[in-house]
Symmetry: C2
Subunit: 364 residues, 2 copies
């Protein structure tokens, strides 16, 4: 069975590593011949909306998936019409536009921060009384890792903030004074079966995820599962999904979702019985989903900009390294490592050591 | 770092799957373009002793390893002289000849079954009084999965048995009335560091391994570790090694060793903190070895001849499938699956179901 993937970066790479033992072959569409999944797949090199390449992909792949949500609408449309694309195009449409996404949450009764659409400086000024300060102005489309976002602390900053957006259609959101950022990864199979991973507790810095920690038996687990289930059903979803949430005094506030495997679920490779990558493939190929329960304590640490020397990482007990074959660059996710251990104290010690090492080599 | 592998079958495939996350690239020498590791590596297609291909491999690979012990002596010699080959050629020399292997065990004070070299029918007849019945006649070289072996129950069978060996230099071994077959997998790094896996309890049928089960805290663990350590040190060993042993009333009797990753250690992918494949690579690249402790209960079941439908395997909870991309053929190992679970009862239930499924599709 050949699976197509739009994008050949680290997510495609980890999908392929999970699928090869299951006998799958991969065809990847990516502009770069250096992409991390290339050595594990057949590469179609070019633009994501190149009609000739999309045609080849539709011919070669029984099902196509993607590793990033900014798939061009024309590509999603073509693949929907000429093969099968999962998660479905509807999930892409909604996830690509922060305003539509928030409105979709609202329509499902899922709580969000206060928000308003903003198309010009006047609109921003009019919206602020109901949003309140501090707030965050975000471009509706194409943002990731904190890009395309400006914090606004007071009315004096409105003009500057709007100029930074360069007239991009935007959304302004009230700042939520949360206790924790968490995410829930869930998977829905073609036949409608679903599984949920334990909550991930996430630490960001500079808009980039740094640590994602698997939390077993979190008191908010059931509430998070109910929320993401509602979301998946509303989208006729198939595949792995990640829903980012704020924990505000034990209430969950939805931030955004990603219609794909997600950085906050990388610990599932070692820390769950079946990884988010394998379950994504099982889901889109309509195979039975694997159990998702946690295996001991686990947490993932991202390496940003640089990877520490391999021997230093591997010298830490209970650590698993995942390199992405990406060259060092400021602010770039180049690798991650996961600590997994059955013993809580040894787990905490190893995580502390790993995080210190990552911080030392951080370039973000 | 590029690693060369002689042989591109399932062991090379699982080595590559373990090494790609660590940033390694692979070049594989194999006669077949259909070999299971081909999609994960650069293929040098041809004979294992092809001088031009060995030259290319020595140029491309910083270190070369192998997935089978019948590496031609000329190839091992060339690679030793022109690059680095691990495990070292000495381990190959000894493992390739059952007589030399048994004599090596003897020289280290490691207990074996009674044995004698046999070069003709007269020699066989002369040896039998000291060996006793029943016995097993084995070709000294090139046997695997029970091939090249004949059981001898009484003196009347000697002539027939010898004819079946087709005059191949042989060894006759007394039959050991063992309670269990176990193996110990160990790993020795370039710098001499060693780690040991929990014992594997192995069930064979028709000379082919069927089930390998990880046994934590076996009373014979320390004795097995001491034995394999002595063996590794005698060979200046580097890499993963497997030593097969008989448990006879709590005494360990050495059967044979394999200077490579081994079928009885496949459960380590999910059932140990670091798999035998990853630790093999860490060892030969002189990187810190990973911890080997067991993660819950685990056991591996081989699929011989045929693979059951993928959905039937994946429907069993706690099961991980590993396909080798090999076409079905009588008696051929085409895939395996591992059950891993923290709960003993659920583990046993899943293993029973998996074994029944494997038996149903068995063609051996």
């Amino acid at each position: 069975m050949t699976v197509g993937i739009l994008g050949g970066g680290q997510l495609a790479r980890m999908i392929a590593l999970a699928g090869i033992p299951l006998g799958q072959e991969f065809v990847v569409l990516d502009p770069s011949a250096e992409a991390g999944a290339v050595r594990l797949s057949h590469l179609l090199q070019g633009a994501y909306d190149d009609p000739a390449l999309l045609k080849k992909m539709a011919q070669q792949a029984a099902v196509v998936t993607y590793e990033f949500e900014n798939v061009p609408a024309t590509a999603a449309k073509y693949l929907t019409e000429h093969t099968t694309i999962y998660p479905p195009a509807k999930a892409l449409q909604i996830a690509q536009d922060r305003l539509v996404e928030k409105q979709h949450f609202q329509s499902l009764g899922i709580q969000t921060a206060p928000f308003a659409a903003v198309d010009n400086l006047d609109g921003l000024k009019q919206a602020m009384p109901s949003i309140g300060y501090p707030a965050i102005l975000k471009s509706r489309c194409m943002g990731y890792d904190g890009k395309g976002q400006v914090a606004i602390k007071s009315a004096e900053e409105l003009t500057d903030a709007w100029h930074k957006m360069q007239d991009a259609p935007s959304i302004v959101e009230g700042f939520i004074p949360f206790q924790r950022e968490v995410s829930i990864i869930a998977v829905r199979r073609v036949n409608g079966d679903t599984v949920f991973y334990p909550l991930s507790e996430n630490t960001h810095k500079g808009g980039i995820l740094r640590i994602a920690r698997c939390i077993s038996n979190d008191p908010l687990q059931t509430a998070a599962e109910n929320t993401v289930l509602k979301l998946m059903e509303s989208l006729d979803y198939v595949g792995t999904i990640a829903l980012e949430l704020f924990d505000v005094d034990g209430q969950l506030i939805a931030n955004e979702f990603a219609p794909r495997v997600h950085n906050s679920g990388h610990w599932s490779i070692e820390g769950s019985e079946t990884s988010q990558f394998e379950n994504h493939l099982r889901a889109i190929l309509d195979l039975p989903l694997g159990t998702t329960q946690s295996v001991g304590f686990s947490a993932m640490v991202n390496f940003i900009g640089n990877v520490p020397p391999e021997a230093s990482v591997l010298a830490i007990p209970h650590v698993h390294l995942q390199l992405y074959d990406k060259s060092p660059r400021k602010g770039r996710k180049v690798a991650h490592a996961t600590v997994r251990c059955d013993d809580e104290q040894r787990f905490n010690d190893a995580l502390t050591t790993l995080h210190e090492l990552a911080t030392q080599f951080d370039d973000s």
